[in-house]
Symmetry: C2
Subunit: 411 residues, 2 copies
């Protein structure tokens, strides 16, 4: 069996570039992990604009509530992220704790508490050890440097086995633009309008509203198209920062000739991070891209893609490299697409046609199926034969290790 | 860790009683399994009425299409069930194969082919070995006996570790009524308007339309409320037969004074079979009843219950007997209930209150949580605090063995 190639993940995080106007500092607060950093502070220059998207889970964590609120009321100067404790399911106490952290930073760094956005990731339902975090803040502030992206990526990890980070550069209109981003996440991954924790910064200049639109567009095609286990987390958050420190003039609207280049660059960074999360998903041995085409609407394509991507039977067959394509067919059949004509449906597995005319394709052989399932990268293509809409979802298989990691996470 | 108690499953299948007017005969066709029976024939007396519900999967198996069609056109005299091959995803060839089996029985038993209902369960996407089945039919016909329910229950097993069957009797208006039923199923279980394979017979007399309504009511509260993995199969089918051989007069409508007694008796049989399927679910170590109360509608209660029951994170925590209740909270939060006020939500785990006021309950301790998770029978209760509707779903945990069984099923 081929293994998922994580070399490009390593290559990319090792070559991350700073973004002028953003400094990062990590420190060890000892929240849950020993002998490693577990808090990271982002400092933004005063010209920076910040956009963010958050989980749609109504039991969202306290820091999500506070970050949303602060972002609406002030221009962020600091982002505080801690790993090891999600500060979710903690009620009013959780709110007070998140606010206390913001106030502590405001005092040390001489800004308003509302200019601090808090983020947490880790176990749900335990109170945040505010004392430990506050004690570690001076060290984080002392460590602030523009080239600390890799240590930040390492600091926010929980069950991740590798840091995730990437830089993309482009020369737009003669000006070099940098986009650097990091992310964490390996389980409880099924983002919905936001995801896991991810921080992406650019030195381009964009007004806040346009930055938010850019984030929404990029996330919709990347983080909102990945799933490990269908479990949308309480803490998902995704931040896009634009410092305006490059020499490229302000991109003032979607009509600006440089906007599409910028959007593509940002989307490229998000796509890399989204796929890196799936490559490093808990227990994953396969990276699976489910593409659904010829749908009547994008929504029904997503519906079919997610039904396949969430099916425990499809996922265990993928783990076994078993071309048990009947499980894919069954998933398409139960996806709830109204009046689907199964005679028009075609399903391919890494280019091998497995289903057509309502049943197994005439050219299919078990040998072809076995061969198609061997690589670590699997493409499942479903053509619905009823329109021109398409959608894709990235996911992974379900292994013994997924069960092991999630049965033992707290013990 | 306590084990799921399967003693009552054993006690019940060992004491199944015949139903006058129904004979069963098994035989070994060698479809997939060696050294065991794999086809079973039900013979119904000519006064019998038959009702059935089938999978809603649009990629439904060929026998589902044929059985639906035959049931609409004729009064069934024979049911043929095979294990080891689902005859699903087999296109026109599959239809021809299922029809060929019906015709073979019709010839041997001197009835119309449309009076035969075919059912298949097993691997999807392989053609049915019609020759082997036809060759075994005379032996099945020779074996027809009223007291063959247990061998029938054994014959239809695939990944089941135990046969599932039960008899309930009642004296209604001075007349003894028997209801006996069997079922199979352990994976690809998330019935939707019908389920897995199940055959239930009674000697009461009910007109066809009333029998269908009775089946629908019983299934809605039993088989339609269980899930192992969320994967609705291509072959689910559920049959209720009424032979009219008891001395109880015809139950002619829902206004009949004996109808509710009858409905309850039938529902009791279905409930036992539904829960037996979960108890014997692939790799299961816990039987979990998720009950959602105080909902604005039954639908939103089901939505929340299924979101919990399908969450891989909740299921792996259950496997670990880990009171990682944050995962239950997260599942409630992402279930899509519009305008849910999390301050009004209460969650209990085997009687221990874990969540209230938007966070961990003030009385909760880790020790209480640990204790609550030890039994094999787990009750998860969620009160939404917004109405009076309720719904419950039975499910099981997700274990190494689930992955093992489903990664190795075909190999």
């Amino acid at each position: 069996m081929t293994k998922i190639d994580k070399q490009d993940i390593q290559r990319e995080y090792a070559s991350m570039q700073p973004v002028a106007g953003v400094r990062l500092g990590s420190a060890a607060a000892g929240i849950r992990y020993k002998g490693r950093d577990d808090i990271v502070l982002f400092e933004l220059c005063d010209t920076a604009q910040t956009a963010a998207m958050f989980t749609t889970n109504v039991f969202c964590a306290a820091p999500v509530v506070i970050a949303k609120n602060n972002l609406a009321n002030a221009s962020p100067r600091y982002l505080l992220v801690n790993a090891g404790n999600a500060n979710a399911g903690t009620g009013q106490q959780g709110m007070d704790d998140a606010n206390a952290c913001c106030h502590a930073i405001a005092e040390l760094a001489e800004c308003e508490a509302e200019q601090v956005l808090p983020f947490s990731t880790g176990v749900i339902g335990q109170y945040l050890p505010v004392g430990k975090i506050v004690k570690a803040l001076p060290a984080a502030l002392d460590n602030l440097r523009e080239d600390n992206w890799l240590s930040a990526a390492r600091t926010i990890m929980t069950t991740d086995t590798a840091p995730k980070g990437v830089t993309r550069k482009a020369v737009i209109d003669g000006h070099e633009i940098t986009v650097t981003g990091i992310a964490k996440g390996a389980g409880m991954i099924c983002p919905n309008m936001a995801t896991l924790l991810s921080y992406v910064a650019t030195d381009a200049a964009l007004p806040a509203a346009l930055l938010q639109a850019t984030l929404a567009q990029a996330v919709n095609k990347t983080f909102n198209r990945i799933t490990v286990d269908g479990d949308t987390s309480t803490n998902d958050a995704c931040v896009l920062m634009a410092t305006g420190k490059s020499s490229l003039p302000l991109i003032d609207g979607i009509g600006n000739p440089n906007y599409n280049r910028m959007l593509n660059l940002v989307t490229e960074v998000f796509e890399f991070l989204a796929k890196a999360i799936i490559r490093d998903a808990e227990g994953a041995t396969k990276l699976v891209n489910v593409t659904v085409t010829q749908g009547a609407s994008e929504n029904e394509c997503k519906q079919v893609a997610y039904t396949i991507a969430h099916s425990p039977l499809v996922k265990t067959a993928l783990f076994a490299s078993d071309p048990n394509w009947g499980r894919i067919l069954a998933a398409v059949g139960r996806a709830g697409v109204s009046k689907l004509d199964i005679r028009k449906v075609k399903i391919e597995l890494n280019g091998v046609c497995i289903v057509s005319n309502g049943g197994v394709d005439a050219t299919y052989t078990e040998a072809l199926g076995q061969q198609a399932m061997q690589p670590a990268d699997i493409e499942i293509n479903v053509a619905l034969g009823r329109g021109s809409a398409t959608a894709n979802v990235w996911t992974c298989d379900f292994s013994y290790d997924y069960v092991k990691i999630n049965a033992e996470y707290r013990t």
